[in-house]
Symmetry: C2
Subunit: 182 residues, 2 copies
DNA sequence: GTCTATACAAGGATAGAC
DNA sequence: GTCTATCCTTGTATAGAC
C-alpha cells in the first residue's frame, strides 16, 4: 500500500478514535510508519489531511451505496442500511458515528475543511429519500429521510453518551419495523 | 458576579462556540476579564473546568425541569420541551445542541471528565420517560423517551451539518404532532 | 486572593542533506 | 521522494511578589 494511502488510513482511524483535533501529525506519522517530515510531502497542512479524511468517508458511503444497489427492493436496501449501522453499535457506543461525530467536530472547530463535511450526512439522507421515492411516497420523501437519519444519528449519540450499544440497537429495531410498515 | 461564576460562564460559552478542546485557559481568562494566573486559583487544571462546565449544564436542565413543572399536563410539558429546542434552532444549526455536542466531544476525547457527561443526555431522557408514564404508557415509557430524545438530538446534528435550522424545526413539528396523538 | 513573569512541553511546519 | 534536526508558536501550569 502506498504511503499516502497508509497516511490517510491512519488519519481516519485516529480521528475516529481520539477526535481530529487531538490527533497530531506525529500520531499519524507513527501509526502509518512514515517519518514526521515526510508527511508534509503528501499533505502541505493539517487541513489538507482533514480534507483527505472527509474524501475517504465520502468514498466509503459510495461503496456502501453500490453494495446496497444489489438488493432487490428499496425497502430491503433501507433495512440493510439500518442493519449496517446497528452492526457497528458496539464501536459507535464507544466513539460515536464515524460520519456524525466527524461532521460535528469539524463544524464546531470552524475548520476550513468544515464546509466539505456537508455530504457526510446529507448524501445518505438523499439516498434514503430516493429509496422512499421508489417505494411510492411521492411528496414526503424528504421528511421520511429526515426522520430515519435523525433517529439513527440521535440513537448513535445516545448510545455513545450512555456507552451502551443497546440504545442504538433498540432504535434500529423500531426503525426497521417502521420501514416495513410503510 | 463572582469571579468563579464569570469564569464558568465564559468557559461554557467558549466551549459551546469553539469546542472545549480548542478553548484555551487564556481564552477563558480574556473573556471573563480575569488574569491568566488567577484562573488557577479557582481551577487547578483544565479538567476541573470541564467538570464545572458539565455541572453548569446539569443545573440548566434542573432549572428547565422546574420551569416545565408549572405546566398542567405531561403532554404540555413534553411539547414545551420540544418547543424550547426548536426555539434554539438558529444557534443549534451553527453550533449543535449544547448538551449533545459537549457530550460527544468529551467522550471522544476520553477526558477524565467524560464519565460525568452521562447525565447531560440521560437526565432529560429520564424526565421524558416520567412524562410518558404520567400519560398512562406504563411499559414502553423508556422506548418512547428514547425515540423522542433520539430524534431531537439527531435533528440537531443534521441541522448543524446542513447549517439549516429548518431540519430541526421540521423534526420538532413532527414530534409535537406525534406527542399530541399519543 | 490577585497578578506578572516565566518555565516547560507539545504541536505545526520548514530547512536542507541525501 | 525521503528523512533528521530544528524553528517557532501556543498552551498548560507554576513561582513568587504583592
Amino acid at each position: 500500500m502506498g504511503k499516502r494511502e497508509r497516511l490517510v488510513e491512519a488519519a481516519v482511524n485516529l480521528a475516529y478514535r481520539q477526535g481530529y483535533t487531538r490527533t497530531t501529525i506525529a500520531d499519524i506519522a507513527r501509526e502509518s510508519g512514515v517519518p514526521l517530515g515526510n508527511v508534509y510531502y503528501y499533505f502541505k497542512t493539517k487541513d489538507d489531511i482533514a480534507t483527505a479524511i472527509l474524501d475517504h468517508h465520502k468514498g466509503q458511503f459510495e461503496s456502501l451505496k453500490a453494495e446496497l444497489a444489489a438488493l432487490p427492493s428499496p425497502k430491503a436496501r433501507l433495512v440493510a442500511f439500518v442493519n449496517k449501522t446497528v452492526g457497528n453499535a458496539g464501536e459507535i457506543a464507544l466513539r460515536g458515528c464515524p460520519a456524525g461525530s466527524l461532521s460535528a467536530e469539524l463544524l464546531k472547530a470552524g475548520d476550513k475543511a468544515a464546509v466539505e463535511a456537508f455530504p457526510l450526512l446529507a448524501a445518505p439522507m438523499e439516498w434514503m429519500a430516493e429509496q422512499f421515492g421508489e417505494m411510492g411516497h411521492s411528496d414526503d420523501v424528504e421528511a421520511l429521510a429526515l426522520q430515519l437519519q435523525s433517529s439513527l444519528q440521535g440513537g448513535s449519540l445516545l448510545a455513545q453518551n450512555a456507552r451502551n450499544p443497546e440504545l442504538l440497537a433498540r432504535e434500529g429495531a423500531r426503525l426497521k419495523m417502521w420501514i416495513n410498515g410503510l
